[in-house]
């Protein structure tokens, strides 16, 4: 196998595939590597840990068909090269990476050991990438990263009222987005897709016009631009989020999104780790406050409109900031109940297709 290509294009492909390659030495050590397969001028770059597979297709100047599995280190090597043209050559027990006056000879993994990954037979649906990626971005942030609770590490895609609903929760917050008119699932069908895979989809989809979705029984595939992300679905029941759908709220704060974000950014300098941000609601200003035992205190006021009764409520500042960021529009609303231990709901003013529900902190 031998080909020549652009350094930056190859580096991007190796980087994306490398993120999916496993870091663990399990039963299949070859999965620590990145698989390259050349047919004519088509190079397919694959990284996988069997749960998640990222495949990247690119056009190169192919000189000799074949395949190899290179160590993840190759990604760093290619990225660091000084010359923008790179040549890769697999011969015997060696892979040579050459560019300009640099020449690396590295030891590959055994090509034949690499399992068959990333294949899917499910039928495809193609939809505009921008809307779907926006929706993913709004929701995936609420998914958990705690592997002890696998059912919370995914985003639920469900058919809902003729459209598609995306839901994620880490048990502290719940994000729900409805995509009207998008039908990718049969009635009452739902799948739980690992958030990790979707983050990779968001990353790879930037700038691409269309996204092709294949939802199978056990896995899902997302094709964007020249990349394909295949993931095993989470085979666990998603928590009953419907019982958490927002109740009518007696208190509603309406506030400029940027002003709220800026104030919160400053308050977060102290409201870190376990220190919450306290919101004092009531009257035409919102007061944000954080009290840190060993660092000090911060208080900031932002103009806002408030309907309801006075309330002080505390949140994990990072969760709150993440929710505000997820809301569309120039103004956001924060709806609360009269008690400081009940969930609050963030929405973009005038939008009803998304909400971010957040449990407060007890102080």
């Amino acid at each position: 196998m031998k080909f020549r290509c652009e350094r930056d294009v190859l580096a991007e492909a190796l980087g994306a595939a490398g993120r999916a390659a496993t870091g663990r030495t399990g039963s299949l050590p070859v999965l620590q590597g990145i698989r390259l397969e050349l047919k004519g001028d088509r190079l397919t770059v694959t990284g996988s840990d069997l749960e998640l597979t990222v495949q990247y297709e690119l056009t190169v100047d192919g000189q000799q068909d074949g395949g190899m599995v290179v160590p993840k280190l190759t990604s760093d090597i290619v990225k660091s090269l000084g010359d923008p043209k790179v040549e890769l050559l697999a011969e015997g027990e060696e892979v040579t990476v050459a560019a300009g006056r640099s020449r690396f000879t590295i030891r590959p993994w055994a090509y034949d050991d690499y399992p068959r990954v990333g294949s899917t037979t499910a039928s495809s649906v193609t939809l505009p990438a921008a809307d779907f990626i926006d929706a993913l971005r709004q929701v995936v942030r609420a998914a958990s990263t705690d592997e002890q609770k696998p059912q919370l590490t995914g985003v639920l895609l469900a058919a809902e009222a003729g459209g598609l609903r995306l839901v994620a929760t880490d048990s502290y917050r719940l994000a729900v987005r409805d995509l009207a008119g998008t039908t990718v699932l049969g009635t009452d069908q739902q799948v739980l897709v690992p958030a990790r895979a979707l983050q990779e989809v968001i990353r790879l989809a930037s700038g691409s016009g269309e996204l092709t979705l294949r939802l199978g029984e056990r896995d899902a595939t997302f094709e964007v631009a020249s990349a394909r992300v295949t993931t095993r679905l989470i085979d666990q029941p998603f928590p009953n989020y419907r019982q958490l759908m927002p109740q009518p709220a007696p208190n509603v704060l309406t506030i400029d999104k940027d002003a709220f974000t800026d104030a919160l950014r400053r308050v977060r300098l102290l409201a870190r780790d376990t220190i919450p941000v306290r919101l004092h609601l009531g009257g035409p200003t919102l007061r944000l406050e954080a009290i840190s035992n060993d660092r000090g205190t911060v208080s900031e006021e932002v103009d806002a409109q408030f309907d309801g009764t006075e309330l002080t409520i505390a949140f994990n500042a990072e969760y709150l900031a993440s929710g505000i960021d997820a809301c569309a529009g120039e103004q956001v609303t924060l709806s609360t109940q009269r008690e400081s231990n009940r969930p609050a709901v963030l929405r973009g003013l005038g939008t009803d297709d998304y909400f971010y529900l957040l449990m407060p902190q007890k102080v």
């Binding site: 929760t169 048990s171 502290y172 917050r173 719940l174 928590p239 958490l244 780790d273 376990t274 220190i275 919450p276 009290i291 840190s292 035992n293 060993d294 505390a314 994990n316 231990n341 969930p343 529900l357 449990m359 407060p360 902190q361 007890k362 102080v363």
Partner: protein, 429 residues
């Protein structure tokens, strides 16, 4: 800061432990009670750190050379000082203080100020709180103390002096325990006192004042500030004039936040079984959790310390996503740490500590988890535990997995600092 910053009359307590070092020694040498006991350097060049009231009758006082003390009171029992032990007991005492107010300022190991202005509505007036402090210190560490109650620090300190046991040639008279300098009657209390009772009146100032015919605080106050400043200079003069009027606006400055809360224990005989080590960890964790809660704190970093019979010592830490303050949360954090340690070579000491302290907050959750006891449930169980201990004492309740010989052995700071007791399974007094 001026007095007008305090629209509310402040209520300050000065708590002074009675013959602290000696009293701590008497706890482990009860047979010496009633005898003259002197703590301090026992060598030829040592000085007296503390003397029991019985020894004071013979004119022995702190900072006196031990050789002089021996001459004055040859039959006294001389004990070497054990600062580490006193510091431990002191921490326990201050933990008690902090149960009454967050505004606690330590002056030394055995005395401190408490601003209980805000606690009065809940706990009663200063005198009531003072008696409660004495009772709780006695219950918790077995020591007596004297309390001065006053509108400011300076008068509170003079008050505690008046509350102390008095030693005269005719014997020891017990003190009143709590002495209040009543608001409005400060000068009545202050002016008859000898002028050297004021802070800042040392030998040199005293002789200057004596030349002016000043013997009591009242004499000094009568001079007027200008005269005093003329005699003593501006800074010292104004300061003393203020004190002579009974004024002191200094605030009670809480001590810098504690950095860690921990307990460790050396065993009478080395432990070889993981289950034995685990039982000690559960017990120590319970003690740490209890102290964290008493201070209204949680710990994000939990450290396990193990010393082997070879004296080799290892520490393992874990930092948690949020601050914990319940024993189950602490033991859950320690369990994986213990797994990395082989107890088979004999464990001599186990320590558990929490650091990264902060006011605990609890992230509320959306779902009830049926199969796991939620942190919130443990937290309310823990506060029930605190209530029971508050009413019936430390030994009233403890984790079942920490029991041995059918008895609950609560952790008390410093209990084993001097090494193992002879029968570790005997339970605590």
């Amino acid at each position: 800061m001026t007095a007008s910053d305090h629209p509310v009359q402040r209520c300050i307590l000065h708590v002074d432990m009675d013959a602290f070092y000696v009293s701590v020694e008497l706890l482990r040498h009860p047979e010496l009670r009633g005898q003259p006991v002197v703590v301090g350097g026992t060598g030829g060049r040592g000085v007296v750190a503390a003397a029991s009231y019985e020894a004071r009758r013979f004119g022995v006082y702190s900072a006196m050379p031990s050789s002089v003390a021996r001459r004055l009171c040859p039959h006294a029992v001389f004990l070497p000082g054990d600062h580490e032990r006193y510091a431990e007991v002191s921490r326990e005492v201050f933990d008690v203080f902090r149960e009454f107010s967050p505004l606690v300022e330590g002056i030394s190991l055995d005395e401190g100020f408490l601003d209980v202005t805000g606690a009065r509505r809940l706990l009663g007036d200063g005198v009531v709180i003072g008696h409660e402090v004495r009772a709780r210190v006695l219950e918790r560490v077995g020591l007596t103390c004297s309390v001065g109650v006053a509108p400011n620090k300076f008068l509170a300190k003079l008050g505690s002096e008046s509350a102390k046991p008095k030693v005269g040639p005719d014997g020891i008279r017990p003190g009143v325990g709590v002495f209040e300098v009543e608001p409005g009657r400060e000068l009545e209390f202050l002016h008859p006192l000898p002028v050297e009772a004021l802070w800042g009146v040392g030998p040199s100032t005293l002789s200057k004042l004596q030349r002016l015919g000043v013997a009591t605080v009242g004499d000094l106050a009568a001079l007027g500030e200008d005269v005093i400043v003329g005699a003593l200079g501006r800074a010292n003069g104004r300061h003393l004039a203020q004190l002579a009027r009974g004024e002191d606006v200094r605030r009670v400055e809480p001590d810098r936040a504690v950095k860690s809360v921990g307990h460790e224990e050396t065993f009478a005989s080395d432990l070889y079984e993981r289950s034995d080590v685990w039982r000690e960890i559960v017990r120590l964790s319970d003690g740490v959790a209890s102290r964290l809660r008493r201070q209204g704190l949680g710990a994000r970093t939990i450290t396990l310390k193990i010393r082997f019979s070879t004296f080799e010592t290892v520490s393992r830490s874990v930092t948690l996503p949020s601050a914990v303050f319940s024993a189950p949360a602490i033991t859950a954090a320690v369990a994986p740490l213990l797994d990395t340690i082989d107890a088979g070579q004999g464990v001599r000491l186990v320590g558990v500590s929490g650091s990264g302290l902060g006011v605990p907050t609890e992230q509320l959750t959306l779902f009830e988890e049926a199969d796991v006891v939620s942190p919130a449930a443990w937290n309310s169980a823990s506060s029930a535990l605190d209530d029971i201990r508050g009413r019936f004492g430390q030994a009233a309740i403890g984790p079942a997995s920490a029991m041995r010989g059918g008895a609950v052995r609560p952790v008390r700071g410093g209990e084993q600092q001097w090494g193992p007791v002879e029968d570790a399974s005997g339970g605590s007094p």
